[in-house]
């Protein structure tokens, strides 16, 4: 049903337009802040170690980020609908193995990638069905499927593993080659990112996801097909985790029953650092992707700076705290601006 409202003169009060621009800027600043931190961090590292941003170094940075970024995109989508998918690590592991097994038996790389995506999407369907049909807390359900998928994976895989020698050369090369300094994997990830972001911003069903996360009860009353949307989010998340599994295989040339273990907390961290609120309804996948890049870059920066690996865990933790604290302070600024603005528009209203 389309609306019959004719377009009219945009007669929004001028000061509210100005205020909106201000808000826009502050909002973008949240993502800009992550970029700034990233740039400063990489720059400082380069200063102290000139090898860091060599061609090889840049490629490594991008390659390191791709897998986490992919999973974070899907996770962000789920979190925006006020759900969460803790099973991504397990799903990544099992789809990587599925792809590897196919390749080992002489399968075609493209089929293998599709297979991984399919396996991921399948578990996405399971998660989505459990969460939306049963209307049960996503955290508990996906904690359950985290265990279940991990268990199935290790029963199925056993002590087998897929190593680089079992994979076609082209596939393994695909994992590290690229156009210039930009690896193929990064291009693929970027494409996925842009598509998902554009979808969420510009399609009704994408907007529905924000609505759903913002107020589920209202979404139902507004006729949003809640189940379908939740299901979509989970399937996309699963499929991206599956794709990430295939890329993992290409990148690391190795899968066993432990692949992807403990990945869920890293992904959740990335999404949170990227400013996607756990209460749903806000944040963007670009933010989540930036969060993922920031986290993986830290892991690249510390060894390059020669920081002993003893310190890495602690520094990672503190940086995560710093990132969310900075984000929070910015958000408080926005709230302040809103308050001032409310006062202004009130003057306008009763003038």
């Amino acid at each position: 049903m389309t609306t019959t409202v004719e377009p009219v003169r945009p007669e929004v009060a001028p000061e509210s337009v100005a205020a909106r621009r201000l808000m826009d800027r502050i909002f973008k600043a949240r993502e800009l802040a992550v970029i700034a931190v990233l740039v400063v961090m990489l720059g400082a590292t380069q200063l102290s170690n000139s090898e860091f941003l060599s061609q090889q170094g840049i490629r490594d940075l991008m390659l390191n980020a791709t897998i986490l970024v992919l999973v974070a995109i899907g996770q962000a989508m789920v979190v925006i609908t006020r759900n969460v998918d803790l099973s991504v690590g397990s799903v990544l592991g099992i789809s990587a193995f599925a792809a590897g097994l196919h390749l080992k038996d002489g399968g075609h790389p493209i089929i293998a990638v599709l297979l991984a995506v399919g396996v991921g999407a399948l578990f996405g369907v399971v998660n989505g069905a459990l969460v939306s049909l049963g209307k049960v807390p996503a955290l508990v359900v996906t904690l359950g499927t985290l265990y279940i998928v991990r268990g199935i994976d290790s029963i199925w895989v056993g002590s087998r593993q897929i190593t680089a020698s079992a994979l076609p050369d082209g596939f393994v090369d695909f994992g590290s080659d690229g156009i210039g300094v930009v690896p193929y994997l990064a291009l693929l990830t970027l494409a996925a990112l842009v598509v998902v972001a554009y979808y969420l911003r510009n399609y009704r069903s994408g907007r529905d996801m924000y609505a759903l996360g913002s107020n589920p009860e209202a979404a139902r009353l507004a006729g949003v097909p809640v189940r379908a949307r939740v299901m979509t989010a989970y399937v996309v998340c699963g499929a991206l985790a599956g794709l990430a599994g295939a890329l993992y295989l290409a990148r690391f040339g190795n899968v066993d029953s432990n692949t992807g273990n403990g990945y869920e907390l890293v992904v959740v961290s990335a999404v949170v650092v990227g400013g996607v609120a756990f209460t749903g309804g806000s944040g963007t996948v670009y933010g989540a992707a930036l969060g993922a890049v920031l986290l993986t870059s830290i892991n690249g920066v510390l060894p390059a700076l020669g920081v002993s690996s003893v310190w890495v865990t602690a520094i990672n933790g503190f940086l995560l705290l710093l990132a969310i604290a900075v984000d929070r302070v910015l958000a408080l600024r926005v709230a302040g601006a809103l308050r001032k603005k409310a006062a202004q528009s009130r003057s306008a209203r009763h003038a």
Partner: protein, 342 residues
Amino acid sequence: MPDPTVKSPVLSRLGGAVRWDTSVGVLLVVLLICSFSFVENFGNALNVSFLIGNTLPIALIALPMAMLVVSGEVDLSVASTAGLSSAVMGALWNAGMAIETIIPLCVLLGVVCGLVNGLLVTRLGLPSLAVTIGTLGAYRGIAQIVLGSDSVTDFPVQYLDFGAGRFGDTFLPYAVVPFVILLAIAVVVLHATRFGRSLFAVGASEEAARFAGVRVKRLKLAMFVSTGVISALTGVFWTLHYASARYDNATGLELSVIAAVLLGGIDFDGGKGTLGGAIAGVFLLGTMQNVMSLLNVSAQSQTVATGVLLVISVLAPRIGRRISQARARGRTAAPPLTAPST
């Protein structure tokens, strides 16, 4: 068709019939009875004492965790706090300090860890899930810095005995005594004091609680600090029980605790649940694992079983409710449609 009735009313109406925490308790009892009668080697005192001893760390942390989740927050850094406490204990012992001094220091450490979490959550208003994922890394990292790759094992024998020993030939480990005391305190605090009442209110609606004069921040801070303290004590217990202080002690314990607490019917959104249910959940998982090991079920299958149980724990009550609703609707729909009276 989707049942559009608002969720809460029905929940309360049928609440008496299918309370999940009671079901978990019943399930635990049934499992225990079956295991005692049918599982070889389960029933002897030694095995039961193993079972209790291995489950105690999870049970200990589950006490404050359940209350924290009731208040609408969560602490994922518990295992790292325990690890840090263990590492500090080892480092101080290596430095020649007396264990009677070390334990209070570890408690203090727990206070600090809890304060950091609590202050970040209450003062800066950050989401606890994010904060404690951060401190999960930070505390574990500090533990690694403090103790490095050392593994300290030479604690005094009487303390190690306390950690691992049991009363004579009974099935009761010594450490059960402090646990039972803590459990009693926690039950009273959560279910019979104004503090507990306020926790439920805060978890169900923080804003409404604040409007009713509940000191939300103070309450949450107190809960984070208690969680820190108990986690640190668990670290001490862990060290003595396994006679080994390492920085990576208790790694991953947070997920086990949360799984058990959720299984026991504590609602992750806050405001609902009972401690009895949480502890039943802890021991249900512990017993299941023990029994499955005795029956030679592989670790992988145990993982699957844990997951299935978790999923069932949230699905079962809802499906049960759905069925009884359908039945109720069937009853009311039975009389023939009456003609409009106008």
